[in-house]
Symmetry: C2
Subunit: 345 residues, 2 copies
Amino acid sequence: MSPRIPSIVLATLLATPALAAAPWPPLPEVPVPADNPMTPAKIELGKQLYFDPRISGDGTISCNTCHNVMEAGDDDRATSAGVHGKRGGRSSGTVYNAAYLTVQFWDGRAPTLEEQAKGPVTNPIEMGMADHGAVITRIGQLPGYVAQFEAVFGKGGLSIDNFAKAVAAYERTLVTPDSPYQRYAKGDESALNEQQKRGMQEVLNAGCTACHSGAAFAGPALPVGTGFYQKFPLIPGSAYDAKYDLTSDIGRMEATKQESDKNMWRVPTWLNVALTAPYFHNGSAATLDEAVRVMAKTQLGKDLTDAQVADIVAFLGSLTGTFPKQEMPRLPSLEGKTIVPADKK
Amino acid sequence: MSPRIPSIVLATLLATPALAAAPWPPLPEVPVPADNPMTPAKIELGKQLYFDPRISGDGTISCNTCHNVMEAGDDDRATSAGVHGKRGGRSSGTVYNAAYLTVQFWDGRAPTLEEQAKGPVTNPIEMGMADHGAVITRIGQLPGYVAQFEAVFGKGGLSIDNFAKAVAAYERTLVTPDSPYQRYAKGDESALNEQQKRGMQEVLNAGCTACHSGAAFAGPALPVGTGFYQKFPLIPGSAYDAKYDLTSDIGRMEATKQESDKNMWRVPTWLNVALTAPYFHNGSAATLDEAVRVMAKTQLGKDLTDAQVADIVAFLGSLTGTFPKQEMPRLPSLEGKTIVPADKK
């Protein structure tokens, strides 16, 4: 090794060929909208709201119930459980790194984290509040929240839009930029083991990156609000369609009512994908192995060998990041009464 | 003021008359059983288990769901919600300062925190695991837990008894020794305001301390496993019996099958009582004001004035403690699959 080339530079040079082929740059700084700057007080308020089950019809469901940040940002279930034991139809996506997505929800029906945050609170099978007015009335009973809304957003600051801004500001802290792949992408060739490197090459060879490109492995860099969608199954007719019930949910068409959006879905991120089983919009694939096999068949018409699947799964495991340490929030209390209404008899 | 008497001593002397009358010593150190010493690793393991909803039948309910330590250690509901939307029959008690109680559950059916921790996991309307074997099988799928059990309890350390020990060790950190009353009890006369002092005197005059004595305001110091029970309503026949459905739950008799235990209940703590609405074993009293009014009538045969109620409620508010700051736990993950079984179709 020439002493004239510092080892760090050499490492970068050595890494360059693989990096040139890999369409995934390191994760950039989290994009923050100009009208919702992040401040410690806003993030803290958003964290409290995110964890507060009292902002649901029966006081049982918080954002964290389905997007559990203590684990991988989802709920380990095929589809989620809402108020009064109701079951949703789609699998909850991880909140980690959602800040990098250009549209939210499986069908992309919300352009921003702020818009997304307003959805589940009034969804009758999720948090089940009657309407946004009811959300604000509920929160407004807690002086500890009202004071924080005013401190963060000014007098009269308690509103559904500011609720959404605070929650979104907190969610923008939920990113995992430090993973083996991220270290590799920044030039540390040793951050991936041999199997992971083989898996990366299999992914590139198979063509998965036609969709799973970009820093978040969820498509190319697009303006916020512009979704990157793909049909699933793109090549219908395999046995998987029926086995995993892939077509009965019409996907984005439900939001747009456009026939051309039938079975179209936002391309999901691969970041931390090893920890977010079960898989697909309906959570029908129990394991990552099987999800890889199904995607290769239905999207690329390929039958992978077990060895190829194992290598790709190993590579996907290298996208598991380091989760941020957090202090547990303390939720505001009310003296002498509850803000959760009694169940109807 | 004589310069020969230091002000701290004087303050103590001045406080003595009230303290002498008040049957509530400052909270002592948390009692720790000899066979379950507290260690940082055990407490950390217990915290993870406490927050893990995957240790429930459908992956939706953790200890923290009903005993939410981010607020006052309970769930703000009359009775709790369990797996599959089921509803319990009794109001969840606060986990804060449960370490000071000599028996657990409303009916005292568990002598220790360790025994208590084994109950809800297999209760079909709470966490709904089939049996303790299923709990251990579920936990055993997560290598991150198995390694911690072995590090804390030795080889083969994963067992239901050690699960309970870890959870109990964590729960013994959930105490609130710093409240206005606690400061007052240690000699700071100014820690209570005038209304709170009036309320304290009302409590003493009314006779509430026949039951709510002791450092935890839950009865006299008794050996662990020995409960302090009281009949509720002690004086039946008031309009409250029907209004709040006070007698249909037979209380401790359900556990012991003894007629003499009918409508007998463990005397609940007053610590943080201002934050644990709604009240009573069935959560039927929505406000602390009303709970005070009902207790005075049903237990002491007294009709309190609104002013007396307000003073007593102010005193009870002085028992709200300072909650410990905590780091959020990170739950062990499994790569590529979930440990939560799919819902039955």
